[in-house]
């Protein structure tokens, strides 16, 4: 039987030793994922270079306000997750649960705004098969959305972990790792929004 700790994990400020947030496996996942996205980011700019006017014209039809609002939602949710991890380390489980719920609702808000954004495009007959720009727009933001939805699942697991009275070493690793996954979702949008919506 794995031992469960009844003490909270030491507050990071108290330790000076280097440690891997979460566990190594999480970083294979995260570094791998952001690398694949980097390939797509590069491909987007290469394609743009071949069809500059087309891309610039199409980009002008996007709703930048929706994109900016979504960036703010994700930044707020990431802050909540940072605070939730701190709360767990201070054994403040109720606070952690509330913060995770807050992050979850920010994610839901993102999805709602995204739905409006996509609906606007579709209503204007701007769909993935219209041209190369809209194809990449829908694929990249769609792939990100897919990761965000998985992230909501991860946050749900973190919520249930926060309800437990003590976490094993592996559960702590999953908690931190899951938090990092959510930050990755945020991080990817921090590139996607300016790249697709603003750069011209």
């Amino acid at each position: 039987m794995q031992s469960t700790t009844t003490q909270p994990s030491p507050l990071l400020a108290a330790t000076k030793t280097k440690r891997i947030p979460g566990e190594e496996g999480v970083w294979i996942f995260i570094l791998g994922d952001i690398s694949v996205f980097a390939v797509f980011f590069t491909y987007y700019l290469v394609q743009r270079g071949k069809h500059v006017e087309l891309f610039d014209l199409a980009q002008a039809t996007l709703n930048k306000n929706f994109g900016a609002v979504n960036t703010v939602f994700l930044l707020i949710s990431s802050l909540f997750v940072v605070l939730a991890v701190r709360a767990m380390r201070a054994a403040e489980r109720i606070a952690a649960q509330r913060l995770i719920v807050g992050a979850f609702f920010c994610g839901v808000a993102f999805i709602i705004v995204k739905t409006f954004e996509y609906s606007e495009r579709i209503a204007a007959k701007q769909i993935p098969t219209t041209n190369g720009f809209y194809l990449l727009y829908f694929v990249l933001t769609g792939l990100h959305l897919f990761h965000l939805i998985i992230g909501l699942g991860v946050l749900t697991t973190l919520f249930f972990l926060a309800r437990r009275t003590g976490l094993s070493k592996h559960q702590w690793a999953f908690f931190e790792g899951g938090a990092c996954f959510w930050h990755m979702v945020d991080l990817l949008w921090l590139v996607l929004f300016p790249l697709i919506f603003l750069v011209r």
Partner: protein
């Protein structure tokens, strides 16, 4: 809650929000002037934000050098690559 907020990550968050506002302002300017400079700044800001999220939110500042190094390398390489393709591709 205030105790929880007393961490560098909170200050970083304020920087991130501000940077987002700056990028959005730069990106939504209208006018016929060349937008290249603004776009370069926007991309640079984006990767500074990415690095901040990695260092302060994902706690890579306290991670072993290999892991931190890989992430820093990612930020540097991808930012350079994208700027290169944008300006010269």
């Amino acid at each position: 809650m205030t105790a929880l907020l007393r961490t560098p990550a909170t200050a970083v968050w304020v920087v991130l929000i501000t940077a987002t506002a700056v990028s959005w302002t730069l990106g939504t300017q209208h006018g016929t002037h060349d937008h290249k400079l603004a776009s370069v700044i926007i991309l640079l800001i984006a990767f500074i934000k990415v690095r901040l999220v990695g260092m302060y939110f994902m706690e890579l500042r306290e991670a072993p050098n290999v892991l931190r190094g890989l992430f820093e390398a990612y930020c540097l390489i991808v930012c350079t690559l994208l700027l290169g393709v944008f300006l010269f591709g």
